[in-house]
Amino acid sequence: MVEPRSISVSSDRWLTDSRVYSLIWLGRWLERADNIARVINTFARIAVESGADMLTLQQSLGNAAAIRGIRVEDAGQSLEMLLRYHEASSIYHSLHTARSNATHVGTVELIRAISETVMTLERDGAMPASPLEALLLTNEILERLDAVYKVIDDSWFHQEALSEEEVYRRFVQQ
């Protein structure tokens, strides 16, 4: 059996109260991003399978947004709000905040993995124009989130995590 070790990269460092706080919120914001991505993904899949158009998908997502407490004035903006623009309940905001917490408690690899996920929503043309594009985008986000979870698993339980100290050592050796 592999002994669990501290998430801090160095075994002689402590998990202080503020880092515990960041760890809890890291988990909560990642969970929220994952949850929203799965909701959009499910509605997009149904839309694609039933041949529904974008407006129908947007209206369906309006209900999902309402469950999350998001008031969408224009039903045609539900997807944009859930993906990117809502300050508390969009995937983008959730990942952005998760990354802030990761910078406090995570490893370089975890920060990079979350950043990769954030970037899927920042690139040009990221906003889907059809249910199929929404499906593909959320598939990609969910795959990247899986990569984030793998980094957490690896750094917590298994291999030695990459620290800034190690990045620096490799750089000096070059």
Binding site: S8, W14, T103, S163, E164, E165
Partner: protein, 459 residues
């Protein structure tokens, strides 16, 4: 392509001569850039920017916005001979300032007029008769210089409280070299080891073996949090917030942690108002229950007016002339100086004594007449709040505009970092952080819109 730049005509361009020819030290670099060509250079620039974003290499101006440090990846080259002078000058200045602070708080200083010291916001009378560990006040020192284009560097100001930016020096070099290694071809870059110097400094200040050191940050939403996180990992010390620390029943500093609280021997503090973050810390410090890096009280020499007397400190304490010149500055408490400054407003820089981060710096030639008049009125009413400095026409460097594929001239300064350990040994880290102004500006601070570029000292 680089030599085609329309900015080659600036007389103080570090890379190019006024006729557009390349300065000898830059020939290999320019050849490498020309060999890569614009499309490849744009691609590599994109790679470097991507890596910076991935690593959250940030300086946050607004905690709600993720902002990577704007960086121009073309390095600045400093010949070893020039660096040797800078390095000796920085070490000399650090030692003199430390001696002065010891006399100021623990003896009797005779260099700076008492009314200047006592009107200094950061002079801390609570520290009178307090000797810091190993008599070191200044452990980490940042100094801002500008290059006059002829190998001569002039000091603009000292940073002694919580000088920041050393991570940006390291990370910009690491990312730049990783993305565009061809730029280093033909150069022997002088290496340095920040981790070893800091760890040696921490250890030398503590009485016991394996002291427990922590880095105190304001929070993960603070502007320089990347640096705090990076350095704590690099040095292998725990990153703490104010809420993690408290003063225990034994008068020592403790940190709250899973699995049991622990005692702290040394705090590398990256916050200003220590009592706000950790109530009771001043008392613990004065009782020698904890070491602070930098020590309390160093801010007295951050004062822009005290800056005028640093050359005298060097003469007085070290018995030698200052190696580095500093910008000619005017004490505005003197009526004659005030008169001179008021008559020459269009050619001077006005600074508030306590300003930092580019705040409180007014480059008067760059301001409109109305703004200058309002400042003149403030100066007449409160001369003790300001100092004036000559406006220097310092050097420019070239920065690459990714979208146009062209190089443009920008003003650059140089922040050099040094550490002093408990044995009084000073290490100056080669290269420093080159800070780059925005177009049509001379202000280089990141918090005022500036960017940075890697700096290499080359043999």
């Amino acid at each position: 392509m680089l030599t085609d730049t329309s900015t080659a005509g600036h007389p103080l361009n570090e890379c190019l001569n006024p006729d557009g020819s390349v300065k000898p030290v830059y020939r290999n670099l320019v050849n490498a850039i020309d060999s890569l060509g614009v499309p490849e250079l744009q691609r590599r620039w994109g790679d470097a920017n991507h890596r910076a974003a991935l690593d959250a290499f940030t300086f946050m101006l607004d905690p709600r916005e993720f902002r990577t440090v704007p960086t121009d990846w073309m390095p600045r080259l400093i010949p070893e001979g020039e660096w040797d002078v800078i390095s000796r000058g920085v070490a000399q200045r650090l030692k003199a300032i430390n001696r002065f602070l010891l006399d100021l708080y623990c003896g009797e200083q005779e260099v700076v007029p008492p009314d200047v010291m006592y009107s200094c916001q950061y002079f801390n009378p609570e520290l009178l008769d307090y000797r810091p560990a190993r008599d070191v006040f200044v452990h980490i020192y940042g100094i801002d210089l500008v290059h006059m284009g002829d190998g001569r560097y002039v000091i603009l100001e000292d940073n002694l409280r919580i000088p920041s930016g050393i991570t940006y020096q390291m990370k910009s070099a690491e990312i730049g070299l990783g993305a565009i290694p061809e730029l280093a071809a033909g150069y022997d870059i002088i290496p340095y080891d920040i981790r070893a110097a800091y760890q040696e400094m921490f250890a030398s200040l503590c009485e016991k073996d394996s002291p427990v050191c922590v880095l105190l940050t304001d929070s993960k939403y603070g502007s320089a949090f990347f640096e705090h996180r990076y350095l704590s990992e690099l040095f292998g010390i725990t990153l703490v917030e104010g809420s993690d620390l408290y003063i225990g029943a034994n008068g020592r500093v403790w940190a709250r942690a899973m699995g049991g609280d622990f005692e702290v021997d040394l705090i590398y503090r990256r916050v200003e108002d220590l009592e706000l973050f950790v109530p009771g810390l001043t008392e613990a410090y004065l009782d020698h229950k904890v070491v602070l890096v930098n020590a309390m009280g160093t801010g007295a020499c951050d004062d822009k007016l005290v800056f005028l007397w640093v050359p005298d400190m060097i003469e007085h304490y070290l018995g030698e002339p200052a190696i580095l010149d500093q910008a000619v500055s005017y004490d505005l408490r003197s009526p004659a100086n005030r008169e001179y400054v008021l008559q020459n407003l269009d050619s001077l820089v006005l600074k508030t004594r306590q300003g930092y981060g580019g705040l409180g710096v007014f480059i008067l030639p760059d301001l409109d007449k109305g703004y200058r008049s309002r400042l003149a009125q403030q100066l007449i009413e409160q001369p003790q709040v300001f100092i004036a400095q000559e406006t220097l026409d310092f050097s420019q460097h070239l920065v690459f505009d990714e979208s146009s594929g062209e190089f443009e001239g920008r003003y650059v300064d140089l922040r050099v970092f040094a550490v002093q350990n408990g044995h009084g040994e000073v290490t100056v880290f080669p290269g420093g952080l080159t800070r780059v102004s925005e177009a049509n500006s001379r202000v280089t601070n990141n918090s005022s819109g500036g960017s940075c570029k890697p700096s290499w000292v080359v043999r």
